[in-house]
Symmetry: D2
Subunit: 480 residues, 4 copies
Amino acid sequence: MKNHKLGHYCGVVGLFSREPSNIPQDLYFPLFALQHRGQESAGIAYREDDQTVVHKDLGMVSSVLGKYLEKPHSSHAGIGHVRYSTHGGNKKENAQPLVVNSNKGEIAIAHNGNLTNTKELKEELFQEGAIFQTSSDTEVILHLISRCRKDGFHEALMHSLGRLKGAFSMVALHDDSLIAIRDPWGFRPLYIGWKNQKTYLASESVALDMMQVTEYRSVQPGEVIIINQEGESSYFIPRNPREGTHQCIFEMIYFARPDSEIYDSSVHNFRKRIGAALAKKDRELLNSPHPGGDIVVPVPDSGTIAALGYAQHAEIPFEMGLTRNHYTGRSFILPSTAERELAVRLKLHPVRSVIQGRRVFLIDDSLVRGTTAKILVKLIKEAGAAEVHLRLSAPEIRWPCFFGIDIPTRKELISNSLSPEELSKHVGADSLQFLQEEDLKTASGSPGKFCFSCFNGDYPFEVPLRPEARQATPRDKNRG
Amino acid sequence: MKNHKLGHYCGVVGLFSREPSNIPQDLYFPLFALQHRGQESAGIAYREDDQTVVHKDLGMVSSVLGKYLEKPHSSHAGIGHVRYSTHGGNKKENAQPLVVNSNKGEIAIAHNGNLTNTKELKEELFQEGAIFQTSSDTEVILHLISRCRKDGFHEALMHSLGRLKGAFSMVALHDDSLIAIRDPWGFRPLYIGWKNQKTYLASESVALDMMQVTEYRSVQPGEVIIINQEGESSYFIPRNPREGTHQCIFEMIYFARPDSEIYDSSVHNFRKRIGAALAKKDRELLNSPHPGGDIVVPVPDSGTIAALGYAQHAEIPFEMGLTRNHYTGRSFILPSTAERELAVRLKLHPVRSVIQGRRVFLIDDSLVRGTTAKILVKLIKEAGAAEVHLRLSAPEIRWPCFFGIDIPTRKELISNSLSPEELSKHVGADSLQFLQEEDLKTASGSPGKFCFSCFNGDYPFEVPLRPEARQATPRDKNRG
Amino acid sequence: MKNHKLGHYCGVVGLFSREPSNIPQDLYFPLFALQHRGQESAGIAYREDDQTVVHKDLGMVSSVLGKYLEKPHSSHAGIGHVRYSTHGGNKKENAQPLVVNSNKGEIAIAHNGNLTNTKELKEELFQEGAIFQTSSDTEVILHLISRCRKDGFHEALMHSLGRLKGAFSMVALHDDSLIAIRDPWGFRPLYIGWKNQKTYLASESVALDMMQVTEYRSVQPGEVIIINQEGESSYFIPRNPREGTHQCIFEMIYFARPDSEIYDSSVHNFRKRIGAALAKKDRELLNSPHPGGDIVVPVPDSGTIAALGYAQHAEIPFEMGLTRNHYTGRSFILPSTAERELAVRLKLHPVRSVIQGRRVFLIDDSLVRGTTAKILVKLIKEAGAAEVHLRLSAPEIRWPCFFGIDIPTRKELISNSLSPEELSKHVGADSLQFLQEEDLKTASGSPGKFCFSCFNGDYPFEVPLRPEARQATPRDKNRG
Amino acid sequence: MKNHKLGHYCGVVGLFSREPSNIPQDLYFPLFALQHRGQESAGIAYREDDQTVVHKDLGMVSSVLGKYLEKPHSSHAGIGHVRYSTHGGNKKENAQPLVVNSNKGEIAIAHNGNLTNTKELKEELFQEGAIFQTSSDTEVILHLISRCRKDGFHEALMHSLGRLKGAFSMVALHDDSLIAIRDPWGFRPLYIGWKNQKTYLASESVALDMMQVTEYRSVQPGEVIIINQEGESSYFIPRNPREGTHQCIFEMIYFARPDSEIYDSSVHNFRKRIGAALAKKDRELLNSPHPGGDIVVPVPDSGTIAALGYAQHAEIPFEMGLTRNHYTGRSFILPSTAERELAVRLKLHPVRSVIQGRRVFLIDDSLVRGTTAKILVKLIKEAGAAEVHLRLSAPEIRWPCFFGIDIPTRKELISNSLSPEELSKHVGADSLQFLQEEDLKTASGSPGKFCFSCFNGDYPFEVPLRPEARQATPRDKNRG
């Protein structure tokens, strides 16, 4: 079955301990805290007896790595990875970290993101005779480093990173050093924290909180931090000074855990702000202090915080009118005999006593294909709602992402076919509003630092758009 | 690791279809909706080719039964069961349904509840030569039916049920008939619903909703309903007319899903009422319209609805100040090397930006040993809370349950050792209030129909209390 | 796929150790040595902390029980079982040992054999109210013991055993006692051996050899031996003195391992004798010292020893002209898309350089349906054999077995349809001879002590023949 | 536990079908027939929809690949591999076939053998920037091909193969072509066969027999055969014309299945010849037509055919005096608590009635560490043998192998420490004889074409002997 929510690619963690430590166990807990960033595969690599040991497989953190908690290990450094399945491919070969031997020593890399110049780099490496065993960008990076004629690993690394375009928040092991790498555009988050004799890396701050790390900061866009027994050093990838920062706004809207801090901002507070912005817009439209609903109901868990923001701003009661059955999980595989609607019913269930007779403001984060929204509106109306007003805490998604988010083709994005009014009818709602891009920018605090390209198609640099994507969509035409 | 939340024993479903139907698939979805009632084992039994086929094993519904969805089956009747592990025993042998051949035909039973006169019945059956292959009450019931000298299954069934004391909401197959059974005291919920040619049974209404069944009612205390191709008939177990109804109030407080209806009442509305009752009490105590906190934060998901009720009544903002990582699930097994605190951290994480500097009303459903509460208060204070006021939407638990809930010994129940004031200090809170038993009774609407024995020790009939439980506890003594 | 070799039901082992010992490990090795007696399920039951612990599951000894070798256990007594699948049913419920609680204490039984009066006993027990959770005879025995009104376990056991008809070589645990039981007719083998402080029980002597036990004997027909800390006592099941001993001759021909002793006789020597008897017959028929073949080739491993006997007596070279690929194992599951012939090819492969141009005496143990023989003759002719003379070291099988061997219906037994001459043509051989029943009797040494009913239909007592089996078969008619 | 028999590295199969065929199924059966060449991992790669699909994992053929038989596949070409574990490493990463993308297209390789110049090649590739993800020689070959500056795959392949030293019988896929490759020295066997529209490749002829292929020949040393829709072409790797052929004689003595043809010779006939040569030697030594034993007993299955040769030549009865329990398999994992002797007892069991009082000639293929032989002699003496004369159908092994056989260090090879007379005492035998190297050469027919280096240290070219191996062993010294 197709994914009906947007998917992100991965989460990463890293750890360097000055004293010997049980690294597999120390990595397990922060990686577990990032499970929401990828449920397809999990893996860790760590140094033991001057070698890099790797354990990785398809599956969740607990099933893949739980067994390595039983025995003690003595190590100084390690990295970990969780991966989300894209392109329908769940191949073992693509599980990370990827570990290789090279003339620059043993290197292990765990990568979150997506390169945009892979094709060119791969072609060049092919010509020079490189062989590829996986389909991941990570292998390309390792080839670049290994082939670089510069003397020494550090020079080769910095030179190779300078050749990459796209999103890469990475953690790496090079022999006994731990390395944090974030691309110059800062597409994906990456955090570094310190506690006692240990330095931690993680995609989101929640993984550091798990280890009670309280001193932390965001790795800066373009920053490369090398940590080993000699100390810690920070470098920056050389770049075009006119290119700015382009942090993914969707991490704030949907991907990151609400209890995380990323990009030096609280995700929770951001979501409350965009919920409030939706309510403010409704008030303006109606020219009335109350937008005319009886209750505000979130689609849990993705819409919960924005719904709270909406309810508080609109002064309408917040109610848990939809219950989520968490046993399904995001990775639930629907039996082939059942239908999409049944899948939604298994996961989300309206509370009749809350809904019945009420005018409901239903808050979700975004609309991709519109399928789930249509079923949800139906369920809530069946439960007796007088009216259903759908509000989305993201603007209309109209362009694919090249920086690590799994967005379908332009054609499949329903906002390229239907206007909000048409969509409202299509899903059976009484009204439907998206967050305005301007309101999102305001909520972000510093819009110049974020990437909004999935909403407006303004990519920070040239991207490999498919010909199909370059054609006008029905709505482009209508508007044209 | 010990259970730190109360556990219930089981959930059951049943289905009779006048037309041949794919019963394994038809049972899968409602059983899935009851997964919260038991994650240790799952099983179904259904009729096929004049035989009773059973599939059961340790594990969750999807892993045990998912594989039976692939092929078509043609059947008229089946039952299903999910089981929660008690007594530390997770034996395959105890998975249900239990299926036997007897002189009364083939019988399959799935049981939710706990008998109180098992020991006497077992002794009597032993003397007569019965052999026991499991440690479940269900086997006792099957022996009774089989040995009964009455002619015919129906007479033997009714006679045998008349001999049972305790809690039993059961679904059974007898040859091609489906049977619903609820004990005369009504301890555990059981629902019956009709849709087209099908009659459904389930512990909670949410399982019927899953199949879009809209016509349903509670099976009455003492009612036995037999459903087959001839039609449906209702009987009642003979009983002492002076014994009333004793429905488990804890199902309403904590066990049942909030989106369910049980005992003909909405669980969601009930939880909002008890949340509001807590707020009302706080207002009275303070003689003030506002109890003096800045935000109301639930312990998700068990405290969420009561917290909403509290917030709305107290007119203090409701905030999701604790995030729950659902990947842990209720069945998470903690690696032996880690500590209890780490287990709580893996599951619940404070949102610093919500908590910091605030006076927090923290709402949970109940206190058993007090261990989790102590860790949670610590986490929230670490996140910067100015004050933490713990509110519990159940009264103090002081007595064991004999009707299907896994409550520790009196000694382990912390409310037998510490008064609320002492407990508040013990867990590090700034104040702590339990729901008053009187307020709970008021919220229940018809207190005469419910069992409150875990709070007050007033059991509806004699129960096999261990000698230890008959002794006065520290608080009994203090008060004495 | 249907079984193309005859199957036996089970193998059993038992152990009592006066000193505490690691019983799970002590049972593993002898049980492993009996793996050929059953590959469907394996199990052990042993006493630990005054309880009977049981581990059993579908699968081979190593996969089911290997994991229990890792930890130390301290125990005095245990039993083990391997089971062969009959009736197409591989249900977990039927795995043994079967363990129950009864008014006579905890009893565990592992059973090799088949009762003939199960139906009557079950009917009687049904009427009295017994419930049946498995389809095994063992449960019937446990019910009988439990219901027996005699005082004490020992009296109840002996009384119950006296009511059984059929084959039962059993090992049992009753609380802390180990018990060996062999039916009065002695259908199935059972051995007892002593070494240091330990007493061992096993179906075949090879399992005792494994533990370097050198003092052993056959448990006598009808003997019941009870072993515990008080010592060892032997009893005999009361019986009709006119009924003789009826040991299964097929154990000697095919089932038992050739390196075993059973019935106080060497299996290897017996098989050499019947091979020689076949050769002697050929000499007589041809009135010539050499029967006119170039080489003697066994169907490995079932025909190997008889082929050696044949070759030595006939003075024709013995050659391994067929190689067996042991990776298939007896339990190989053929993929549905492939054919029966491919299954034989995967398992048995002719050695062209041995076969080509030769007149081959091909020796196998018996013919059931004739399917495999037909394919083998084809394979050997394809490999260039000049002639193929098939010799079977058993007489024609024409009757079903009721004592623990899985023989198809009379109709499916090809010797009920075709005479040896017709069969020879049917399988494509140049000649075909069965062992003569008289020669088998002579080889057995004491024919009065063996059961030959599958060859001649002379059952030792009345058996539940199906109506179909009472009708004349084509060959009965032809001869009639 | 250490391997007590010599191990070989691998077996390979390949198939090209002019018509679309179910390649996964077509490869399964021949690969199954080569299971004896490797039980650690299994894998196949085949072309489907213009891509190379690979399935490989740790485990046996049936468990790893059985599941791919269920569905139909349409393909033209595929290869397969079974792998034996060496160096104690059973890493998933080393399972084959290895599949890569390169500038020469998609290449999949399955390799049997061992290179001797890996270190030099790897060093060179490292310097050029190659990265290594496995520890296998195969990856080195793929790097060579990919980096080769020659135009086109074919030129690059031939050039790269010319740089390899050592043993390599390989099957490969290059896009839609199937390729057979055998090193110029011919160390490992490789066969090609034709049937209808299909061309098969396999390590041994038995795999071709499985598919009823009757037209086949050995791929010649140095031959490279490319098979695709255009036809089939044969090339030869350029080589030093003075270097001869060095086929591994141990394949004939022990590794290959007796029902196989390799090197254009029947393995079965060869083994009978060396058995006869042992008997001839005994006759000469004793100057008597009969060497003075009562029976000839093989260590099954490795000594069976040589024992037959011995018995027929010596005119002493051949007897199956040792029974092998095939459930152990070659891959049996001994529980850590048990001893080596128990492992032998689980696998091989003497037949007392055959052994007792007899003078036994015990025939095995070779002696490595002498441990198993010592236990076997003990077992046979315990079973009552009057005398045990051990005969080995291989000469004394004194040197490591660099061409694909897992032989321990010189120090561990017992024939470097003890003379045959000393060894005879060491293992407790009454006499002990090895096959004479001269007799082995005679039996081989064309000794100039075989490698005997493990017996005499005469390697065909320089090999990377460890310093330890260059030192004189105790027996070198004694003799020196």
